[in-house]
Symmetry: C2
Subunit: 384 residues, 2 copies
Amino acid sequence: MRDVAVIGIGMTKWGELWEKSLRDIYVETALLAMKDAGIDKLDSMYIGSMSSGLFVGQEHLASMLADYLGQAPIPAVRVESACVSGGLAVRLGFMEVASGISDMVLVSGIEKMTDVSGNEATYALGTAADQEYEGYQGITFPGLYSLMARAHMHKYGTTREQLAMVAVKNHKNGSKNPLAQFPFEVTVDTVLNSVMVADPLRILDCSPITDGAAAAVICSLETAKKLNKPIIKIIGTGHATDMIQLAHRKDLTWLNATYLSGKQAYEMAGKKPKDMDFAEVHDCFTIAEICVTEALGFTEKGKGGKIVESGETSMGGRIPVNPSGGLKSKGHPVGATGVAQVVEIVKQLRGEAGERQVKDAKIGIAQNMGGSGGSTVCHIFERE
Amino acid sequence: MRDVAVIGIGMTKWGELWEKSLRDIYVETALLAMKDAGIDKLDSMYIGSMSSGLFVGQEHLASMLADYLGQAPIPAVRVESACVSGGLAVRLGFMEVASGISDMVLVSGIEKMTDVSGNEATYALGTAADQEYEGYQGITFPGLYSLMARAHMHKYGTTREQLAMVAVKNHKNGSKNPLAQFPFEVTVDTVLNSVMVADPLRILDCSPITDGAAAAVICSLETAKKLNKPIIKIIGTGHATDMIQLAHRKDLTWLNATYLSGKQAYEMAGKKPKDMDFAEVHDCFTIAEICVTEALGFTEKGKGGKIVESGETSMGGRIPVNPSGGLKSKGHPVGATGVAQVVEIVKQLRGEAGERQVKDAKIGIAQNMGGSGGSTVCHIFERE
């Protein structure tokens, strides 16, 4: 296994991009990453997308995007694992480069979600749950995460206010991210008084529906050095699955796939949670970030609410979580999210994050999760 | 790169399986492959599926299937490249084992297509074309392949009867395949008098809509030898893309992605087209097999119609093509097809193909194609 580095990143402003089609958004983003890397030829491409079929009626996605990016006839693979599609594209690209099969690989993610109605988008997102059992009962994702939130509040005394503090922190970070969909601050009061979605989760506890893409160019460390690029190494990767149904899990508050994939990544990197300078995690709902910080070992089981309240996960705290603004403020084009985490981590490690720069950032972890935690991918990055 | 072997295969009877759900079909098939391999634990899984979102409302497919197969928390990846999703699952699994990342990987494909109406299935399949250009004009796959057929007839003098002979040959082979959806013979006259779909293609020129899955267990050659299994090695792999739109190609009759992926696989295997004892190829329409046999080098450009007429691609001929019955007779659950080709090749190389056994088969090639040829994967297998 060779060492692998990220040498280029690309992302454009996320939001309701009605004036652009999926392929436009993709090509614009991919070209930014290739320009940043200083290359114009790829060996292969991985594209994460959850449901281009349901959202825009386009499958055979990798072939179409390789063609429109001017890269056909190279191999191009679309991977899907709901909201972890992007993280999985990163992992497969990493494996292809690490194994020596290819040297220059574009890893990317995209989702165009706002060309359909809200109901259609909710249906499409609901296909990440167990369709025959959870879907059949009519439960959608805010409902599933509200069950996790209630269980966490019941078991550990997590408060409604602590949930809100995740949104407050991430929107504060996101207000300094010019590419964020909702770059504004919110207060605990605003969150607590926002529209109810699935008790106890309100609209400001939920990540939005977003159009967007993200891309990164990865290659062997050797090639990265030859190209004289700022070098950010991928030093750990992990991937695990869990029961897809919430009802099948022993503990609604414990994200076992996050725990296991994090453990794999830490072990591969030879690092511990305390070695992380910051993290980009999957805050699709406020409760998700609370559970994730526990499963990644940033705090003990049950204390995810307390560390957000204490400020330990804020900028300047012990372990800043979601300096980018997270899914909550930056937006959540589901297939793109895992790659956007990589974009933020590389910016932070290069010292290019501007007003939201994490001081002396040398190591960062990305955690990207599908469904209610049925699949998770983690990656650890280090500045050389 | 380590040598890789197939040590287990699984496939059940294909057809309109209304009494079984997607997960039932999958688990039944995967367990057959694991039983054949004599193993009950996997390191990771790849699942090819084109559009489980549009066909059954289930994305996050790999997580769900790993769970229902009792294999969670192992990594599970769904890949999509339209009708080459299955072939791509084989390729990625191969790469994971060859690189030493994993040792025991299940590669598989599934599609449950008959739970929706014919119109909905046609729409879902149409998402493999360029949605904004080809789809917008209302063209679906029989139309696209009919353009290729007309171009081939015009340029090379291929006859309507030669197209029919592909169906006659493949149904004859498929009549000896107990797992085929349509295991009956047809005559040239039946084909020529069957219902018109898109001139010149009639219903018996088209592969059917099918529910089905296929699976194979692959591992390192070293492990295969320890397990004392009949060893079928994967000695070559290739993957290429092409312009997704037919209108963008220089020559409607030439499948460049098939040519390139075949070339990669031949070169990796150190073999030539003439070294192949038989082939399983992507006859989604009769014209497709004619074009594929040219692009794989079984005959010269333009002579694909002539070699079917001469009997060279029949059982007992120079290079039997689609001994399984092909997509035409066996059925075409799109995401499963590429893996079913592997199942047939392994059966042939093990000498377990019964009435349709290719004599002294030692080397076979599988060619699996997406859309109108926008992506293709080829694999070459050799009996040790």
